[in-house]
């Protein structure tokens, strides 16, 4: 990419896509008036003390995964938590966008909790499809379902921002994508009703709510209905996981962002025969795993997302 500056008359879709690629190496993003601008690479961005509320997103820990793409997914989760503990400014809390475990085993949930709790932060979870595959489909809900509705959706407010955790990994239909379902969508509509349109809204869910690559199931069948309900809000941020790579898109006042996994990378859409775990050289693995830090300034803007790999 030859030009990282986004000045002048707005940003073309193509330019945004170019920056998405660049974001893979770690970029501080700031959104002013719906126009994304990259401010610099991670190190210089981190040097500037963030004002306002900061929270973290981690995703796709896949605790229990032990295949060649990363024989020690618990170890890299611990590295991510150590990275978080070393941050100069303690974040307000953390969200985890699902696939905490690989096979929904009790030990996997226990191990994940033991490591993640070392960050000493409140963690707001949503489930991934890998968290619902125990025989009775009860382990996730026993641990993280308290106070949630349906399969585990809920909302909360923090720092003047309204957060909504959505579940799009249950009741999936053959040939389809992620699924929110009527009950959840009706709840969402009611949850947002009557809120001031100046309230920043963050929607987070495991599978991308936008259509990234339907051939690999990377999208949500009825995601557009959820996005319909946030139309009119001045600042909307959609945070997802599932695809194990950084991807970002801006449409109007909505910023879409997917986080890296802490366990293993997956290939770029269509660049491999399947979305399965991508085996890379050991020396390269940690540059493809990581965490995201999201910063809200008090006047709601600019919003900044910093993706930090475990290793540059």
């Amino acid at each position: 990419m030859s030009d990282h500056d986004h000045h002048g008359d707005g940003v073309s879709r193509r330019r945004v896509l170019e920056c998405m690629t660049w974001a893979g190496t770690g970029v501080l993003w700031t959104i002013t008036g719906g126009v994304p601008r990259s401010l610099g690479i991670v190190d210089s961005a981190l040097a500037a003390e963030p004002a306002g509320m900061t929270f973290l997103q981690i995703s796709d820990s896949h605790v229990g995964f032990d295949k060649p793409a990363n024989p020690n997914a618990l170890g890299t989760l611990e590295e991510a938590i150590n990275k978080i503990n070393a941050m100069p400014k303690k974040p307000s809390f953390m969200i985890h966008t699902g696939d905490i475990t690989h096979l929904s085993k009790a030990k996997e949930f226990d191990d994940a909790d033991r490591i993640i709790s070392q960050a000493k932060l409140d963690v707001h979870y949503v489930p991934g499809e890998h968290d619902f595959i125990d025989e009775e489909v009860k382990l996730y809900k026993e641990r993280y379902g308290r106070g949630t509705k349906g399969a585990g959706w809920y909302s909360f407010d923090a720092g003047g921002v309204h957060f909504v955790g959505l579940v799009n990994v249950v009741d999936l239909k053959g040939g389809g994508l992620g699924n929110l379902g009527n009950e959840q969508l009706e709840w969402l509509e009611n949850d947002l009703k009557g809120r001031s349109k100046s309230t920043p809204v963050v929607l987070f869910a495991h599978i991308p709510l936008w259509t990234v690559y339907p051939q690999w199931g990377w999208g949500t069948e009825d995601g557009a209905r959820a996005l319909e309900y946030v139309k009119g809000f001045g600042s909307v941020t959609v945070l997802n996981g599932h695809i194990h790579q950084v991807m970002q898109k801006v449409e109007g006042n909505v910023t879409f962002h997917t986080a890296r996994s802490t366990a293993f990378p997956q290939p770029a859409p269509g660049s491999a025969p399947s979305p399965g775990p991508m085996k890379v050289e050991d020396s390269k693995l940690r540059s493809l795993l990581g965490v995201a830090s999201i910063n809200f300034k008090q006047n709601n803007q600019p919003l900044a997302i910093i993706d930090t790999p475990l290793q540059g």
Binding site: G174, G176, G276
Partner: protein
């Protein structure tokens, strides 16, 4: 890819060796999951035949046919077998990755 081919070859050799003493098993039909794809995705069998799915991916999969059969989650090298007792067209999918679909036609 070459390792899969080697494994296919290995399975073929074992199957050939077993053939004389296990002719009943010759009726069984295998479906492999490689790279998030059921192979073969379209299959025609006779009533009474058993189909066995084997997951060769590094990611777990399932086989679900609404109202007919539902496998447990199959981790790598996990298998699931179902014997088709009635004719019909059985469309199935992976409940974790629903873009993965297949059909068994039973005659």
């Amino acid at each position: 890819m070459s390792s899969i081919n080697r494994r296919d070859f290995g399975i073929a050799v074992v199957a050939t060796m077993l053939l004389p003493i296990a002719t009943a098993r010759a009726e069984d039909v295998a479906v492999h999951i490689d790279n998030f794809v059921f192979e073969p995705a379209q299959l025609t069998v006779k009533v009474g035949q058993t189909v066995t799915w084997t997951n060769r991916d590094d990611i777990p999969h399932t086989v679900v046919c609404a109202g007919k059969f539902r496998s447990k989650t199959m981790d790598t090298d996990g298998t699931f077998s179902f014997t088709f007792a009635a004719p019909g067209e059985y469309k199935y999918f992976c409940s974790l990755h629903p873009h993965m679909t297949g059909t068994v036609k039973v005659e």
